[in-house]
Symmetry: C2
């Protein structure tokens, strides 16, 4: 029967008639080896189907050519897009990605990141609800790290979307359409982006006399949007700012089911511009968070950290306002 164990560097050395250090050097393209010899070694390696054991290399080199990514919820389209952008960018640079969906163990982000960090060269953290202090305490222990969608931190590259600016644009859009009494379906209040949205709301009501924004607690998914329909109706508003597209879609669906016309009776805005936001009925007005671009940039920052390139600064992207048909002039 054939060999059951993979060929090692020793096998190649023997076949090529050289020492294992020469094999190592040849395989790594070290220029201090005689070209002819290098060829011979490579031929031997090819013949044996030899490839250096990455685990052994990792041990001696101290790097794994892999980064960890911790994501709060793989079911969320935005996080999926971040992961996708990051994953592809990392692959293009020859890096692998170890993922972790923390959905189950909320609050375990710290321990998880620490665990993952040990098998990888760095960690990209997407942890919107991790407490500020915990994050601050965690970061130094897992460096190099890059953080997504959190306020800039000292010594840690951050890539984020400007949720506050986007929320302001959404509000301006609604205000421009004549809406003066607006509902805000808040999602995770404790999240960084949630705080940014809230701040934008406060600023907007301060800026515009007569503008009222009523906060209605809701969740972050489709169902919570639907569940909020009663509260929205009762609040007697002409428009609703949903925490995200999922919530907006739930609200839109529930409103339609109730015979409330959107945007004639009620304008609705989303947030994120997930893939299906353009295909609801009516299509959703929203703020386009460039999620996969965030992932790409997070990788760029990590790659810089890993290669010792210039210390990447914090990188913030402003979501674009996407006006579709779920918003229209205020009626009342």
């Amino acid at each position: 029967m054939a060999r059951s164990t993979r060929p090692g560097i020793t096998d190649v050395a023997r076949l090529a008639g050289v020492s294992l250090s020469t094999v190592s050097r040849a395989m790594n393209g070290n220029p201090t080896v005689d070209p002819a010899l290098a060829e011979r070694v490579k031929a031997a390696a090819a013949e044996l189907g030899y490839t250096a054991n990455p685990v052994a290399r990792s041990l001696v080199l101290g790097r794994t050519q892999t980064v960890s990514v911790v994501i709060p919820d793989l079911a969320n389209p935005t996080f999926q897009a971040i992961l996708r952008g990051l994953s592809r960018a990392a692959a293009a640079d020859g890096y692998h990605v170890l993922i972790s969906d923390t959905a189950e163990q909320v609050g375990e982000e710290g321990a998880l990141a620490t665990t993952m960090r040990r098998r990888t060269d760095g960690v990209v953290l997407c942890a919107p609800r991790l407490a500020r202090e915990e994050l601050a305490a965690l970061l130094p222990t897992v460096a190099p790290a890059v953080v997504i969608n959190r306020p800039p931190q000292a010594d840690v590259p951050t890539v984020a979307a400007d949720y506050g600016a986007a929320m302001s644009r959404l509000i301006e859009h609604l205000h421009g359409l004549g809406h003066r009494r607006i509902a805000y379906l808040s999602g995770v209040v404790a999240s960084a982006s949630g705080a940014a949205r809230k701040a934008a709301i406060t600023a907007a009501t301060a800026d515009h006399d007569g503008l009222e924004i009523i906060e209605i607690p809701a969740g972050v998914d489709f169902d919570s949007g639907g569940a909020a329909i009663d509260a929205v109706v009762d609040s007697d508003v002409t428009a609703a700012l949903a925490f995200n597209d999922l919530v907006a879609m739930g609200l839109l669906s529930a409103a339609t089911a109730r015979g409330i016309r959107v945007p004639d009776d009620l304008s609705i805005t989303g947030f994120d511009d997930i893939p299906f936001a353009a295909y609801t009925t009516p299509p959703l007005t929203t703020a386009a968070v460039p999620a996969s671009e965030l992932g790409r940039r997070a990788w760029a920052a990590m790659h810089a950290l890993l290669t010792g390139t210039e210390p990447p600064a914090s990188d913030v992207l402003t979501p674009e306002l996407i006006i579709r048909d779920s918003t229209g002039p205020a009626v009342r």
Copy 2:
């Protein structure tokens, strides 16, 4: 300044006043260690914040506690769900997941799987378009492996949804509504699930006199569904079977934009039951492929392989027919 290098097993040994092996044994819960001593060791480890270097362990143990997952396209909701189900199940068993989105390098699945396999304990392969022979040649080289959504292979656990059975149900549903001339928007013909769908169509037309199913080449995404509207209209059918929900949604959207009423003028079915299929207007009739369950089961199979449990057989799930409002009685 503080120590810049992590504590090693030697540091713990010194602090606890024991040998390396005792530390190793104590940390691994080896019962042949005096309980009191074990406590002392653990205390020392805790004091130093020591944790065994996973890379070194991997090298000596020959296992990484990690599995690779290769996914064709992270932008596809079905694959996302598979990954999510798998990832969470693996995490529950203390395993990590290395992912690879092969989108960019189609056809590179083999090389990629091989590369990833070397840093992990096994690979879960989701490669619908990989040629049968290539797959067969690849599998033995990356074992242990489990394959998702492909016909059962010898010696390799397979978990798959029965696309053929689901397609049959969809057709029966349409036939029962009186549809006799139906369009089929084919996606990736070369894929395993594509072949299964096609076979179901052939069987159905053979079973039912007067039933015609016209194949219209299309893609696998939203846009390709929309692009097929002309062909569908020209084909003079009363119903259309879309390759998947994305295509169905694109077609639905284009149809609606053209003033074609669904399901009054045209019935449309999807496939997969992605999260948004229930929220289109009208909601989509489709076949629910239990994607995250597939991921979960793929993990179960892999875990069995890894732990030497009973050889997992091939596991096939039949998608449930979900009748919503995009299908109705045939008019003509």
